[in-house]
Every structure is written in structure tokens, then in C-alpha cells.
């Protein structure tokens, strides 16, 4: 049985790499897309040795919107599944004072990912099949003082994915929104994360594979996060604005 290719956008991220391993283990050819893609040669070899699948590297810059169409054209095969693991956490306190930095966070988490998934969605729509997975964030569920620049961009991305899913629902194309919560990755290595709420990248990857297979729409990786966010969203704004969370 030959499995369809899986394209990973933001392949250098820990979650992106974990997703690559999960699908490679199932026999899918893997397309790794990232900036400075040639640096991923070691990861490519590792995937090929471990899983006996073909792996290709593709130069991709999410904020360079003009390059997106060309990027899609140069893929060796049209992917069956696309996982967008692109993300930039930024530094909230710094970014509040630095417009360029703030805009980069917004473009990296919303504009770029939305544009590339939109471009791929148009092709999937014509083909009438495919799955698009967007890794958004629980930070997009409600803006908080400590990370609202990142959070607002993720909120935009979540809304975009929701709309795209709605548009594609009758076209044979499925869209999955993943809200991982805390994940133990390079992005969060400076943060002191609570163990029970923190997932490993491999858990996120397994959750994504399951969600794609079962055609889930919105998935939290750890179920506890659905409860946490339900509570956080239920707090009245008058109280919420005084809280430090």
C-alpha cells in the first residue's frame, strides 16, 4: 500500500519534526519545509534510516508571501496531508515597545500560515481531497497581558481555520485545528511549565495523526486544556481584566 506524501511547514520545530516521525513510521513520504532547509539534511537522513521512506527538503519562508505559490509548484508531489507547525512566540514585553518585532510575530503566526494554507486549500479544492492541519494555540482563546501579541495572531489563525473548514466541508477537504497547550519544546525551554499540563512533542504528533484519521475538527492535545480554557473563557471581563494569569 502506498501512502500519500505529508508536507510539514515549519519542519525544524520540535512539533513539526515529531509529526514527520509519526507519519514516516506509517510509511508516508515526507516533505520538510523550512527556512535554510539544507540544515535539515541530518534530520532527513535520520528519518530515512529509521523509517525507510523518501524525505525531501524544501526552502520555505512563511512571511515571504510572494514565494508561496512558487513553493507549492516546486513540490515533487501534491501532498495528501499538510501540517503547519510554523510559529514564533516572540517576547511580549519587548514586542509591546517594538512595532517591527510585534508585526513579525503577527505575520509569522497568522498572515503567513493563513496565506500558505489558503493557497494549498485552493489546490485541494480542485482535487477534491486532502487534509490541512493548522497548529494554533490555546493562547488564541482569550487575550492575556503576558502573551496577547502572540495570542491575538493565533486567534486570527484559529478563526481562519474555522472559516476554511466551513468553506471546504462540502469539497472533500478536511481542516483540523490543533490547540496543543504547553509543549516541551525549544520554543518554551526558558519557561517554567507545569508538568501535568505540558505535553511532549510526540504526544502532539500522535494527537494530530489521530485527529486526521478520525476527521476531528478541533483537538486539544491534553483533555485537561479543554476544561482550563472553558473556565478561562467563562470569567467575566470585568474580573478578568484585573487578574494576573
Amino acid at each position: 500500500m502506498s501512502e500519500g506524501p505529508v508536507l510539514i511547514l515549519g519542519a525544524r520545530s520540535d512539533i513539526g519534526m515529531a509529526v514527520a516521525h509519526t507519519y514516516a513510521a506509517l510509511g508516508h513520504p515526507i516533505q520538510l519545509a523550512a527556512r535554510n532547509a539544507q540544515d535539515l539534511e541530518k534530520a532527513k537522513t535520520d528519518l530515512e534510516i529509521r523509517h525507510q521512506v523518501s524525505v525531501t527538503l524544501h526552502e520555505f519562508d512563511v512571511v515571504d508571501l510572494d514565494s508561496h505559490d512558487g513553493f507549492v509548484e516546486t513540490l515533487p508531489a501534491s501532498p495528501e496531508i499538510v501540517v503547519c507547525a510554523v510559529g514564533l512566540l516572540g517576547q511580549q514585553e519587548n514586542d509591546e515597545q517594538d512595532a517591527n518585532a510585534a508585526v513579525l510575530v503577527m505575520r509569522s503566526n497568522f498572515e503567513g500560515p493563513a496565506n500558505i494554507l489558503g493557497a494549498l486549500a485552493n489546490r485541494f479544492e480542485r482535487r477534491g481531497s486532502g487534509t490541512l492541519v493548522g497548529i494554533s494555540s490555546v493562547a488564541g482563546e482569550r487575550g492575556r497581558a503576558t502573551n496577547y501579541i502572540y495570542g491575538s495572531a493565533k486567534a486570527g489563525f484559529t478563526a481562519f481555520l474555522s472559516g476554511l473548514r466551513n468553506r471546504m466541508a462540502k469539497k472533500g477537504v478536511h481542516v483540523v485545528t490543533v490547540l496543543p497547550g504547553f509543549v516541551d519544546t525549544k520554543m518554551t525551554q526558558e519557561l517554567d511549565l507545569p508538568e501535568k499540563l505540558t505535553a511532549q512533542p510526540s504526544e502532539v504528533a500522535d494527537a494530530i495523526e489521530r485527529a486526521v484519521r478520525k476527521k476531528k475538527n478541533i483537538v486539544y492535545v491534553k483533555p485537561i486544556w479543554a476544561i482550563v480554557m472553558f473556565v478561562i473563557k467563562a470569567i467575566p471581563e470585568a474580573i478578568f481584566k484585573r487578574m494576573r494569569i
Partner: protein, 441 residues
Amino acid sequence: MKLSGWGNHPVEDCNVQKPRDKAALKDAVIASSAIARGNGRAYGDSALSRTNTIDMRSFNHMLGFDPETGQLIAEAGVLLSDVISAFLPQGWFPAVTPGTRFVTLGGMVAADVHGKNHHIDGSFGSFVDWLDVVGTDGEVTRCSRTENSELFEWTIGGMGLTGVIIRVACRLRPVETGWIRQTTHAAPNLDAAIDLFEEALDATYSVAWIDCLSKGENMGRSLVMLGEHASHSEIPEKCRATPYPTVAKQKLNVPFNLPGFCLNRYSVRAFNALYYWNGSRSDRTSYVNWNSYFYPLDSIQNWNRIYGRKGLAQFQCVIPLDQARTGLNDMLTEISEAGQGSFLAVLKRFGVQESRFSFPMEGYTLALDFPVSEKSIALVSKLGQMTADYAGRVYLAKDSCLAAQDLKDMDEVRVANFSAMRERTGVNKQFSSMQSERLML
């Protein structure tokens, strides 16, 4: 953070760094006196440093494989379990494997691990072609039997004390299936067990479970288990559908430390009697899959927690061949009189091994574990002294309480040479573990 070896004893507050690339590793190494840590399967304090423990698990890429020679090149943080997952379906198996597959290749080199085939194939080091080692300056040196051979020889079995192993080239063995043909032989006492081992020197794998609580004429009663890689044509019909069986995800787990009283001389004695009776009903041949043959405990996550919160003290020694019967007899007498139930007690014949600082030597090795208590620590110390009396050795990957003097008594020349090498090359200033400090290496 609080850190310990697999024995959960001792537990220490350690400063841990987890570098992700070569540059970060260099910074980590030169920061202060350091020890590399793999997957934390050494039992005691071999991979603990209060000031600078370097977690190597981000170095987990496989870099190349040559199907002509079976040579795998991989970063040191790659787990043996991943090697098996990747290569068994292609007909390759580790040439030497310890009793758990959740070890890193770097850890396997550092402890120069042995398996049930030591009497024929020697230790893991025999299958290592070359190593890349990060030295005191943070730079990488490649070493092999012909290139920087001193570094190579000291690093195998050097417990991470010659530098940080970053890449390993080692050979796998071709296998026709993932099944093992196992035969079990009952030995009513120690002498009979040793006789069985001596008769079975041609068997690829041999190991014995030994009952350490039985006394008198039953002392040292054992089940000697021999194994061979099964060929495709010999495996039973039902195994042929899966010549390379895979492991299901771990289901059994010990979610928390059991109360310390669960393992005592009565429960262990009852278990031992039942296990021996079951194994001795007849000499049997069966086909078992590689996972339950080599890694029976791996199927229970966190099995170390059955020893309770205080943890377990492991002890493993080897007694030279000519002293083995007398030495083991004395040790078993000591153990059964102390009444300290060792739940897992293993006896194994070692073959000849020439190496600088590795544990194995020709003779018999005895491995035991005890729940940590004042009495069991005293027993382990006593067994350490007895090992010295019989000119044997203790396995540092399992040790957490040997005294520096006892190590010296066992192995005066080798220990002195090791320390002298550390001094001469300056690695003693840059690489040390709590164990090396305790043992004054």
C-alpha cells in the same frame, strides 16, 4: 532539579543542561566539571553531577547505515529501542544488548555493557568501530582501534570520564527472525548451575535466574536459560506471520512507589519457590519473541518503583573463573544468612575480555538488587569486600555505594592506571560524576 539513577538512590539536586547542537554542547562542557547523561538507566550515581549534568538525549539522530557490514553510525543519544525498531524489520539486531532496551548508545559505550552472549561475543565495545568524543576544550576527537587508540580504549567502559561521547559507529548482527529458541534447565544448586554453564559454552545466549534465599543443599538453585536466534524455517507456524514481531505500546505501569514492605524475605521466598517449581517441571524448549526474551522488565514501565520510595541498591560483581565456585558459595551463604530477599538475582558466565577499564573478565557474574535499607547497604558493602578478596570486580553502572578503598583493593593496577590517564590528559578537571568523586577516580 532532583535527579537519580534508575535505582532511585541516591537522589541529588543536580544542575542539568540539555544542549541541542554541537555549539551548545561545547558551551555546556567547558562551563564546569561535567558528566554526560543518557537515558538514566545506570542504577546509582554514575550519571549525576551536582554542578553540571549534561542530558544528551537531543543528540538522537541516526546518521548512516551500511547494509554490507551492518555498521550503524548514530549520535550518542539514540536509544537502543529505536535502533531495534528501525533495524529488526530489516533483519538486524544489536550484537550485544543489556537487559533493557531503554539505554542510549553513548551509555552503552560508557558502561561497556554486556549481554547474555558475553561468553562468546564479549561486550558492546567489541562491536564499536569508532567514536567521536568531546574533550576538555569542547572540540570533537575521532578515535578508533587505529586512530587515537588510547582515547578509544579508555572511553569504552570509561563511565563518561574521558569526555562526552557524541557519535558512535557500531555493528549490528544479521538475524533471520526476531524469535529466540529458548531452553530452560533446572539446576538444584550452585555447582549444578555452574556445570550447566560450562557445558553450554557453545550456546549463543546463556543466563540463569538464581534463588538467593535457599540454603543448605539447595543453595544457589537456578534455572539456566539458553537461547539461539531462530531461523525462519524452524519457527512454529503461528510465529511465521510475524517473523519480526513488534512491541505494542507499553500498557503496564507502576504509577507510584509501592510501600517498602511489599518486598520482604517471605514474599520473595514464596515467589522464588513458585518460580523454580514452575521452571523445573521439565527441560523445555520454546520460541519466545526478542522483547520478552531480552527485556522482560521493559514491558512494565517504572518497574523500579516496586522497591518503594527509598529505591533499590544494585550489586553486580564478577569472580574470576578459578575462584568462582568458592567465591559465589561464600557470597550466597552471606546473602541467605542476611535474609535480604533479592527479587532479581542473575548468574552468568563471562568469557575472556581484555580491556582497559571495562567491568567484564572471564568468570561468573552475579547481579542482585535489594530495597534500600541500612541492612541491605551493609550487605552490599560486605559483598564488595568479598569481591575484592576473590580478586573480582564490581560493575560501576550498578554501583551506588562502593568505597574508594574497596575499588582499589579489587583492581589496584587498573584503577591506578585509569586515574593516572585522567591526570595526564587533564580530563579529571573537566569530567567527573558523583560516582567518580566517591571512588576518587
